[in-house]
């Protein structure tokens, strides 16, 4: 740095180290508690030396909460959301940036507004839509008299119904339906030099070829950043999976945490609870540690 400030430097190290401890302690406590047995974990104060039951507890937590299939479900959902976002947003941003058509700004604003209202806020009606995704279209047909017309002509009563509760699509699609990724791509596409487009067009490339062969390879960094952020975001979703998956076969790892809370009457099995917590917090932590560069970049770029 610019000047010599030994006292201040010492204080800086002290405070930063305190911050470090503040961040890491909960992880350490969880890991230590997960290694104790029932008696030791409830000792006051709990011993900070690791016990010997770590793998036993992990195994118990794994079987009690049936974590194998739950983790797989979480992976499927998080991958689905990340992939969906990366693909759908790229398509839309391409359309908004590289074409001129009437209503383009309307589409831009329609998408932009979705940034404002998170899923948690409109949870009740979204749930109703997922219970029957075709309901909006049925209502529109009823209101416009279209279903009446069809019934008159063909004698078939239109009854559109497709329930997505307890399905991967019901979990994934509503989470994909926001604008975060679209704007990340849009900002990036706007920085791609026009000469590149001109050159491609001169060589006879159409819109689709330009998109696939030039634009997408250039956006690789953006895709990695967006994918990382969305993977974590989807993995950490709680309220939405809690509502949509009433059936155990589609339950997520994170919603399973509730089964691990020691109940009031029973034995305070905190060691099992902490082992389960450790298993569930590990995958996102690994993603953050390994993909840190993309994670930070994605956070700052999507401002999500």
């Amino acid at each position: 740095m610019v000047e010599r400030t030994p006292i201040l430097n010492f204080l800086t190290h002290l405070i930063l180290f305190a911050g470090f401890v503040f961040c890491v302690t909960p992880f350490v406590i969880v890991a230590i508690a997960a290694s104790h047995n029932l008696k030791d974990v409830n000792d006051v104060p709990m011993s900070l030396l690791p016990g010997s039951d770590f793998w036993v507890n992990i195994k118990t937590a794994w079987t009690t909460a049936d974590l194998g299939p739950k983790l797989l479900n979480s992976f499927i959902m998080a991958f689905g959301v990340a992939a969906g976002k990366v693909i759908v947003s790229a398509l839309t941003a391409f359309s908004i940036v590289y074409f001129r058509y009437p209503g383009r700004m309307l589409i831009f604003w329609l998408i932009f507004i979705t940034l404002m209202l998170p899923l948690e806020v409109r949870i009740v009606p979204t749930y109703a839509v997922v219970a029957n995704v075709l309901e909006p279209y049925q209502t529109i047909m009823d209101l416009t008299g279209l279903s009446w017309l069809i019934e008159k002509i063909s004698g078939v009563q239109v009854q559109l119904s497709l329930g997505l509760l307890n399905s991967y699509s019901g979990l994934i699609l509503p989470l994909v339906a926001t604008a975060t990724g679209t704007f990340l791509y849009r900002q990036f596409f706007l920085t791609v030099p026009d000469e590149l487009t001109e050159a491609a067009r001169m060589d006879g490339a159409g819109a689709l070829r330009f998109f696939i062969d030039i634009l997408l390879p250039l956006s690789r960094n953006n895709m990695a950043a967006l994918g990382t952020i969305m993977f974590l975001w989807a993995w950490n979703q709680y309220l939405w999976p809690l509502l949509i998956t009433t059936d155990q076969s589609h339950a997520m790892a994170v919603t399973e945490l509730k089964q691990l809370i020691p109940n009031v009457g029973g034995a305070p099995e905190w060691h099992i609870a902490m082992a389960g917590t450790l298993i569930i917090m590990l995958p996102p932590l690994i993603v953050v540690v390994l993909m840190q560069r993309w994670f930070v970049r994605g956070l700052i770029a999507t401002e999500k």
């Binding site: 209202l117 917090m281 996102p284």
Partner: protein
Amino acid sequence: MEKRVTFGRWTIGILFAVPQLFLIFTFFYWPAGQAVYWSLTLQQPWGGGNIWVGLDNFRSILSNADYWNSITASMIFAGISTGLAMLIALVLAALTDRQLAGSWLYRVVLIWPYGIAAPALALAFRFILAPEAGFMAVVNRVWPGFWDPGLDGADAMASIIIAFSWKYVGYNFIFFLAAFQAIPRSLIEAAAMDGSGVIRRFLDIQFPLITPTIFFLLVINITESFQDSFGIVDIMTAGGPANATNLMVYKIYSDGFKGLDYSGAAAQSIILMLLIIALTIVQFRFIERRVHYR
């Protein structure tokens, strides 16, 4: 900013936007409209559609003491946790930005908490702050009855605030650090040449230059404290004791899905939506100059 070179066949262009338009219509605009419709109608108990009740749902909610209690709790939660998370992150980022030896370590580690799912860290903190096991038990042994989130509303509120702040310190830290690093080094060095100390430089140069980030984070933290708190509340306190931590989103969930009062829950959603839209507008007024969308 607009592209000079575009593709001519705009019919194809629209096709590219169709998937997202379908998604946001089905899962965003329709439900949002539905929420407005439900909030203005009342569902008949034995089927037979909804009857129009105008603003009655809002009136009954706004005259309900439980709802005001929930708003107050949300405001307290938002205020304290945002303040804590931002203040700690600001100090840590400012100090990390001094780039002393070993600062890379903090840059790496301080981000970790943000990757953890809110319910997972809630369960961890539920154990850490448990009155009978864990670490607060030690305090309770010295002062019996000092800490019990299961019985004392203030303790319960404190626990969810601690859990939430722990997660968002990491998030705020990333943004503050990026903002500090965007300040040209030469500016700081010139000020140092003129004889200003570290604190003076922070107050007169760095702090004013990061105010856009502060406003941005303020809004994001408050909005997130409305949404991301659900998992923490559900795992740590379930809205209790005596509704002390019954935050707005949690109340929407319990009224709508446990009490099956769709109209009441929809009216609450509308109020929360208006609140968040208002916050977003404030955010855009403040950070307009910083956003380079076009």
